[in-house]
Symmetry: C2
Subunit: 178 residues, 2 copies
DNA sequence: GTAACTGCAAAATCTTTGCAGTTCA
DNA sequence: TGAACTGCAAAGATTTTGCAGTTAC
C-alpha cells in the first residue's frame, strides 16, 4: 500500500466480494478459452491481487521472483495482458513511460489519481459529482464511454513541506524560498 | 483540424493573442538560453503552431519533410522537447504508445479529451465545473496541481452509427449507411 | 498425446544520445 | 571563431514475438 503517510487512506479499501467476483470472471474466461492454470500464472495473479495498487511490470516481476527465481518478463507481460483482456485488470500509464496495472474498478471502487511528480506517490480519489458531469458531457457528444482516466499531476503535501523546510535550513530565519 | 464531422466544433478556436504570447515566451526562452534559430527549427515550430491539434511526432515529421526532405527524427524530437521545456507545448499520451504534442493551454483554452477507440478521433471538451471540483479535491489533499489529464475513452457517435447500420445491413431493409 | 505455456533471446517500437560535420551569431 | 545545431546511426528502454523444450488436462 503506497499511500500518503499523513493522509487518511481513501478509496483503496478493496471490497472482498468484488475481489471474488473478479477471480470468478477470470476463472470463467480461462475455462472458456481453454487456458491453463500453471504455477507461474497462479503466482503472478495472486501477487497482483494481493500486492500494492499500482505496480509496474518490473515491481511485479521482482516480487514474484522472490518466490520463484526463474520467472521471465514475457510470462509476466503475457499474464497481465490476459488479466486485462478479461477485464480483471486495467493498464495505466502515468507518464513516466512505465505500464502499471490495477484491479478493475469492480474491486476497488471508481477512482482517479493524484500523482506527485516529486516523489512518485499516487493518491487515489473519488468524486461522484465529476463522474456525473462526465456522463453529461459524453451524452452531449453522443459518445459511448467505456473507460476514463482522470489524473492530476503536481506536488504532494509532504514534498511541499520538505521543500519548504529545506529552503529555510539553507539560510537562517528567512521565509519561503521561491 | 480533426473534429467530429457532425459535431459543433468546440474549444479549438485558438486565440490569436495567446498564440502570440506563446511565440514571445519561446523567443525569450531561446534568447535567455543562448539557443539559435535555424531553418529546421523554424519550420518545425511553425508547422506545430499551425498544424492539427494533436499531432504525433511521426505526423509532424512527415509534414515538415514535405517542405524539407532532409529533416531527421532527432531534430523533431529535440525541438518538441524544447517547446515543452519552455511551456509552449505539452506532451500527451493517449494510450496508443505514441507521444503527441499540443499547444499549451494558454492558446487554446483549458480542455480535456474524448478519444474514440474505433476511429481514433479526438474530441476536445471543456467543463469549468469539473475544473472547480478538481481544485477542491487537490486542496483537500494539500496537493499542488501543476497539470492534469482527463480523458474519456469509448466510441464516438459516428462509429456507433456505422456499427449499427452495418448490423442492420446484414439482415433486411436497412436505413442510412454511415 | 497434444495444445498451451514457459524462459530465453531476438525483434520491434519509440525515444535518446554520440559524433562528425555544418551553421548561426 | 566557436558553441550550438543537424542528420545519421547506434544505443536505450520497454514491450512483443519466435522457438524449442516443458507441462497441464
Amino acid at each position: 500500500m503506497v499511500h500518503a503517510p499523513g493522509e487518511e487512506e481513501r478509496v483503496t479499501h478493496v471490497d472482498e466480494a468484488a475481489l471474488e467476483r473478479l477471480r470468478t470472471r477470470l476463472q470463467t474466461y480461462m475455462v472458456e478459452k481453454g487456458l491453463r492454470s500453471t504455477a507461474q500464472r497462479r503466482l503472478i495473479i495472486d501477487t497482483f491481487f494481493e500486492g500494492a495498487p499500482h505496480m509496474t511490470i518490473e515491481e511485479l516481476l521482482q516480487q514474484v521472483r522472490g518466490v520463484d527465481r526463474g520467472i521471465g518478463y514475457a510470462t509476466v507481460y503475457r499474464t497481465l495482458k490476459l488479466l486485462a483482456e478479461c477485464g480483471v485488470a486495467s493498464e495505466r500509464r502515468f507518464g513516466d513511460g512505465l505500464s502499471r496495472y490495477e484491479l478493475a474498478d469492480d474491486a476497488s471502487s471508481h477512482h482517479d489519481h493524484l500523482i506527485c511528480l516529486s516523489c512518485g506517490k499516487i493518491i487515489e480519489f473519488e468524486e461522484p459529482q465529476i463522474e456525473a458531469l462526465q456522463d453529461a458531457i459524453a451524452e452531449k457528444y453522443g459518445f459511448l464511454v467505456t473507460s476514463h482516466k482522470h489524473e492530476m499531476y503536481g506536488e504532494c503535501a509532504d514534498c511541499q513541506r520538505t521543500k519548504k523546510s529545506a529552503a529555510s535550513e539553507g539560510a537562517d530565519g528567512m521565509r519561503d524560498g521561491a
